[in-house]
């Protein structure tokens, strides 16, 4: 009984992980077809271009991986918040703040230090940058009960304006909107390891992302703090009863959520351009919500979902010659909507089909 129950649960979990992406993709493809036909193109050709431009060659794949890296961080950030029952809509500004902190640190360090040596410093700086923004929303909620959905939205506007001010007024290189190059700590591109990736922005921060995913998984599902955090997210009343300081978990979760998004800024700053550029985070925050959702707030799921959205957003460029790349924006939204609506529906259908199928072998 227990063994088969275990197997059933495992299958349910697998289904939980795979089903949303599959259903969402089917629906998105359908909507995509309509848009493509409206635009007078052939869906087959557009999708072929999309695949060829992403997974069809090493360069495209590298670009996908680069985008996946950032989205993994923002998706993870949103997922951690959601596990604590908090909706962090501010990953965008947290990402920017983390990147900015790293960029400024990079201009202050003496040149020529080995990247691996200073990497921890950058991680800490980026985490502080993002964490400060996320933590602010957390404290606003714990201490004053201000709803985090609204405060993170407002903080997006505030922080981006502040960073713009700091960049423009103090840190920019003349005639640009970016800071000076980091003097130490720039990380090699992936192509240094795997030459076919040449030219693509994918870089070593990808591995940092995977490491953060592993840590986040351990933190959420194996640590005591994670046990308490998830309890707060599922049932704050029960967590409080279980001796958990609920407001404390709120602000800590937002702090961590912001920090994770902030570390994501390294992908651009240390891995790609080697400077902070105003506006580099645009769109990554909202897509992080989609990633967390499709990834079912599970760190591993987040990586897969980030890969999906990374592919879509790189694909927009690949199809640009055939249809407006805005089509991809639409598809991304459709994926989100499909996940929250049709997936539960499909699951219901599957379940009743299975029940009708009688007891399983």
């Amino acid at each position: 009984m227990s063994a088969s129950a275990g197997a059933r649960r495992w299958r349910a979990q697998l289904e939980e992980a795979v089903l949303p992406a599959v259903v969402a993709l089917l629906i998105a493809a359908l909507v995509g077809d309509v848009l493509i036909i409206v635009y007078g193109q052939s869906p087959g050709e557009v999708y072929r271009a999309l695949l060829e431009g992403t997974w069809g060659n090493a360069y495209g794949l590298g670009q996908v991986l680069y985008k996946t890296t950032t989205l993994t961080f923002t998706g993870l950030s949103v997922a951690i918040g959601l596990r604590a029952g908090l909706f962090n809509i501010g990953a965008e500004s947290q990402l920017a703040a983390g990147g900015f902190a790293a960029g400024v640190l990079g201009t202050l360090l003496p040149p020529g230090l080995p990247a691996l040596l200073v990497l921890p410093l950058f991680i800490v700086a980026a985490a502080i940058g993002g964490g400060a923004v996320g933590g602010a929303a957390g404290v606003l909620k714990s201490k004053w009960g201000a709803h985090e959905v609204i405060t993170t939205i407002m903080l997006n506007f505030i922080v981006l304006a502040l960073l713009n001010y700091l960049t423009v007024a103090h840190f920019k290189v003349f005639d640009t909107l970016h800071t000076a190059d980091v003097r130490s700590g720039a990380l090699p591109r992936l192509s240094a390891l795997i030459p076919p990736f040449h030219g693509s922005a994918a870089n070593m921060v990808l591995f940092l992302a995977l490491a953060v995913v592993a840590v986040a998984w351990w933190y959420l599902f194996r640590s005591r703090a994670g046990y308490e955090l998830r309890a707060v997210g599922l049932q704050p009343g029960a967590a409080e009863y279980g001796g958990v300081n609920v407001p404390g978990v709120w602000w800590r979760a937002m702090l961590i959520s912001g920090a994770v998004a902030g570390i994501g800024g390294l992908n651009f700053v240390l891995g790609y351009k080697h400077y902070y550029e105003d506006g580099f985070s645009t769109g990554a925050g909202f897509l992080g919500i989609a990633v967390a959702l499709v990834g079912r707030n599970n760190p591993v799921g987040v990586v897969l979902a980030a890969l999906l959205f990374g592919t879509l957003s790189q694909g927009g460029l690949a199809v640009n010659a055939l249809v407006p790349k805005q089509m991809v924006d639409v598809l991304q939204a459709v994926v989100i909507i499909a996940v929250v609506t049709s997936v539960p529906e499909v699951r219901r259908v599957l379940r009743s089909a299975r029940r009708r199928g009688g007891p399983e072998a």
């Binding site: 640590s223 599922l234 001796g243």
Partner: protein, 524 residues
């Protein structure tokens, strides 16, 4: 007495059609089959009691009848007319009204607005507030259900709120009235008042279906009883032909020792240590409205003693227990555990000092429903099951195995989510966690609420054992029978104070009832 399931007695020839006849009703919520071929026949002009264990499917069946749910299978007739799968609106039009177990009132609206909701009185398309208030006042006077129509529902007492519920159905012209556990939250005089209204209605030809867990109420007011078990109907019997013991046997499917019988007088045991384990001094707790929910209460519980607190719900019991547990801020007074002041200490610190707590609402507080049984079994003690920041999975599993075995939790699968368990087994998780560890003082709030007769038996035995082992227990229960069955002393809470603290021998239902309503009072 008739055969179970489906085969209900035919209507005698020439008799008027039954007021209600439900046949073979199936109703599922996802994986949970709440009704499985349930049937119910109610004659016109009777009070028909519907009994069954918790989770037997009573409320579900009545919601089907009132149109809230469409059944998956089965047929429904009302007054001889087929009404299978009708809507609430249709049910209301046909004169079927339901007063729900959990009140269906909008707290931010006034009494009158709640009553007319869905059947608004309008003047030129506008809401006619005056007209609504007048109509409600008139209806109240006619039926004896008086509530000020202009008051906000959030300001009403439970008894008043229930009157509003009944008014709502009557305003809609209900001739078939369904009441789901109406007495659970009422004081004895309020219960008497309710019976008066209901019997009057029956005598004027209305039909009443009454869900209750209290078999003495069944015996007192009903004409006929239908018994449900595990979603199905297992019996239908005329009240005068049955007894509480027989009903209980039908409900559970086996013989049961009813609480009241066993507990004639608790046999006093160990009282070696004389110092109070739990000492509460002049405790005052403010509620959301800044009034004193608990108002200077003092008492002590000694090791090997059960102090029972009786009282109508809403008189400060919840706040008292939460304050003792560390979940609610204390505005004045002190709480001492074994002589140590813990008034300002956290939930966790109190737990470490030996305090266990069975919360009154297991679904909201006692369990994280989406956690596994094993994870729920460490809630509140997670710090003891961790090493260097990590939860020690092996230790957690081992603990779960042991507790599942000891408390007979089913299914015996540590990884099963608590949500998938029946109510009784969910409560067993809470009991196992709180009583299966080292503790010296136990706060047991409504420990058997929502639990069936079999499980009640088990939980009561656990509490008695704990007393025998020298634990100090504070028992809060809305069930007088339970309080009387277990307590060494009984306190009655009224208006945030102890109206009386009586030795078990002096505590009878009549005496307690008087204190519970504030009819008599004396300083604690």
């Amino acid at each position: 007495m008739t055969a179970p399931d489906g085969t209900t007695p035919p209507t005698p020839d020439g008799a008027p059609p039954l007021a209600v006849s439900l046949r073979g009703i199936d109703m599922s919520f996802g994986p949970v089959r709440a009704n499985r071929g349930a049937s119910l026949d109610v004659a016109r002009g009777e009070i028909h009691a519907l009994v069954g264990e918790n989770g037997a499917g009573k409320s579900t069946l009545m919601r089907v009848l009132s149109g809230m749910y469409a059944p998956d299978a089965g047929t429904m007739t009302v007054n001889g007319r087929d009404v299978t799968g009708w809507s609430t609106a249709q049910a209301i039009d046909a004169g079927v009204g339901m007063v729900h177990q959990h009140f269906m009132l909008v707290p931010t609206l006034t009494v009158a607005e709640n009553v007319v909701l869905g059947r608004e009185i309008t003047a030129a398309g506008r809401l006619d507030r005056r007209g609504a208030e007048r109509a409600v006042a008139e209806l109240g006077e006619r039926t004896g259900l008086v509530v000020a129509p202009g008051r906000l529902v959030s300001e009403l007492s439970v008894g008043e709120a229930q009157r509003v519920e009944i008014l709502k159905t009557l305003y809609r012209g209900a001739r078939i009235l369904i009441l789901d556990e109406p007495t659970a939250v009422l004081s004895p005089p309020e219960v008497d008042e309710l019976w008066r209204v209901l019997t009057h209605m029956r005598d004027t030809g209305d039909t009443i279906i009454l869900i209750t867990h209290k078999l003495d109420e069944v015996m007192a007011v009903s004409n006929t009883v239908t018994v449900m078990r595990r979603g199905a109907t297992v019996g239908r019997v005329a009240t005068r032909d049955t007894s509480p013991a027989e009903l209980a046997r039908l409900m559970v499917g086996r013989d049961v020792v009813l609480a009241g019988d066993a507990a004639a007088a608790p046999q006093h045991s160990i009282r070696a240590e004389r110092r109070a384990a739990l000492d509460v001094r002049e405790l005052t707790v403010a509620d959301a409205r800044k009034t004193h929910a608990v108002d200077g209460v003092s008492f002590a519980v000694e090791p090997g003693e059960i102090l029972g607190i009786a009282g109508v719900e809403g008189n400060g019991q919840t706040e008292l227990v939460e304050a003792l547990a560390g979940l609610r801020e204390v505005s004045a007074g002190a709480v001492l555990l074994h002589g140590r002041d813990v008034t300002r200490q956290s939930v966790r610190a109190r737990g470490d000092a030996g305090l266990s707590h069975i919360p009154e609402d297991r679904q909201l507080r006692g369990l994280v429903l989406d956690y596994s049984i094993a994870d729920n079994l460490i809630l509140g003690q997670q710090h003891r099951f961790s090493r260097r920041g990590a939860v020690d999975a092996a230790h957690v599993l081992e603990n779960a195995r042991r507790q599942i075995e000891r408390f007979d939790i089913r299914p015996a699968d540590p990884a099963a989510p608590a949500r998938a368990l029946s109510g009784g087994n969910q409560q067993k998780i809470v009991i196992a966690r709180e009583m299966g560890r080292d503790f010296t003082v136990l706060l047991a709030a409504q420990p058997t609420r929502g639990v069936d007769v079999g499980a009640i038996e088990f939980i009561h035995a656990q509490l008695r054992n704990a007393r025998a082992e020298g634990k100090a227990i504070l028992l809060v229960s809305a069930d007088l029978t339970e309080v009387l069955a277990l307590s060494d002393r009984v306190a009655v809470m009224y208006g945030g104070r102890f109206a009386a603290v009586l030795p078990r021998a002096e505590a009878t239902k009549e005496v307690l009832g008087a204190y519970m309503t504030g009819a008599s009072g004396r300083a604690a």
